[in-house]
Amino acid sequence: MSTNDDHHLDANAAGGALREIFSVDVTAAGTSCATCAHSFTFAEALLHAWAPGLVGRCPACGEVVFRLVRAPGRAWLDLRGTTCLDIRMPEGR
C-alpha cells in the first residue's frame, strides 16, 4: 500500500476549484511576469490579437505572459510566462 504516489490525488479533485477560478473575471487578476517579476493587472498586458491566437505581453519587459488559442469547441491557454495570478474571489463560498 505504501508507494511514493500515496499523496497524489486524481486531478479531477481540482475540478471544482478550477471551475470556480475560471468563472471569475481573470482580466482583473494581479499578474506576475515570469521574466522580469513585474506585477500588473492581467488586463494591462499588451495584447496582440491579429495572430493565430491571442498573445499577451508584459507591459514592462515585453515578454509573452500568456497565449490563448481558440478552436471550434476547444481552447488552449499557455501561462508559462506568468508565475502567479492573484485572483479576487467572490465572498460567501
Binding site: 493565430p52 491566437g53 515578454e63 509573452v64 490563448l68 488559442v69 478552436a71 476547444r74 488552449w76 499557455d78
Partner: protein, 200 residues
C-alpha cells in the same frame, strides 16, 4: 479582365477554378499577422546562424547571405487563419545552399527569430528545394511587416512555419514545439491535410 483570359493562354490562374486546401479562402491582399511588435533589424546588424545538434555554429552576415546564389520563385501561401494567397513572387537563398556545408544527423529543426518567435519542423522539410531564406517579395526588398529583412519561407506548410525576422535554425535530435505548436497548433501543419490543431 484577367478572369476572361483562358488559363492555358495566359498562364494565370482564375479564382473560379483554383483548387485551394480544405477550409481556405482566396485573398488578394497580404494580411499581416504578428504575435508581437515588429522587430526593426538593420542589415548591418543582421546575422543568421545554423547551430547543429553538436553545438557547431555556422554564421552568415548580410553580405555573406547576399553573396550566395539566390533564386526567384513563385509560390502559394496558406495561412492557418484560413486565407490563401496565390502566385506570390519571392527572392531568396535556398536552405539547401545554406546547409551544404553543415554536417548533421539531426531529424528536427527549431527556427528562431528576432523578437523571440520560434517554430519547429522536421529538417527534411527545410531541404530538397522546399524552403528559403527570403529577402525579396514582389520584386522589392521584403518589408519589415512581412518579416524583412529576411524570413524563413516554407510554403508547403501553413505560414506560421515560415518564421518572420528569422535569426537562426537550431538542429535537434528530439522535436521541440515552437511558439504556436506548444499551445494548440498542429506540430506539422500541412494545409492539404488541414492540420490546424493538435488533434487534426
Amino acid at each position: 479582365m484577367a478572369g476572361l483570359v483562358s488559363r492555358g493562354f495566359s498562364g494565370r490562374r482564375r479564382t473560379g477554378d483554383v483548387k485551394l486546401p480544405p477550409g481556405q479562402y482566396l485573398t488578394e491582399d497580404f494580411p499581416v499577422l504578428s504575435s508581437g511588435p515588429t522587430p526593426q533589424v538593420r542589415t548591418e546588424r543582421w546575422e543568421f546562424t545554423i547551430t547543429t545538434e553538436t553545438g557547431a555554429e555556422h554564421h552568415w552576415d548580410w553580405a555573406a547571405l547576399r553573396a550566395l546564389p539566390a533564386e526567384r520563385f513563385t509560390t502559394d501561401l496558406h495561412c492557418v487563419t484560413k486565407w490563401s494567397k496565390l502566385g506570390t513572387t519571392w527572392e531568396g537563398v535556398s536552405l539547401d545552399t545554406l546547409f551544404a556545408g553543415v554536417e548533421t544527423t539531426a531529424g528536427y529543426a527549431l527556427a528562431h527569430s528576432y523578437g523571440g518567435y520560434t517554430t519547429n519542423l522536421p529538417l527534411e522539410d527545410l531541404l530538397g528545394g522546399k524552403a528559403w531564406i527570403a529577402f525579396g517579395y514582389g520584386g522589392k526588398d521584403l518589408a519589415a511587416e512581412h518579416g524583412g529583412p529576411a524570413r524563413l519561407l516554407v510554403p508547403h506548410l501553413y505560414l506560421w512555419k515560415s518564421a518572420k525576422w528569422v535569426r537562426g535554425i537550431r538542429l535537434m535530435n528530439a522535436d521541440t514545439p515552437g511558439f504556436w505548436e506548444g499551445v494548440g497548433y498542429h506540430n506539422y501543419g500541412d494545409p492539404w491535410r488541414e492540420q490546424r490543431y493538435w488533434s487534426d
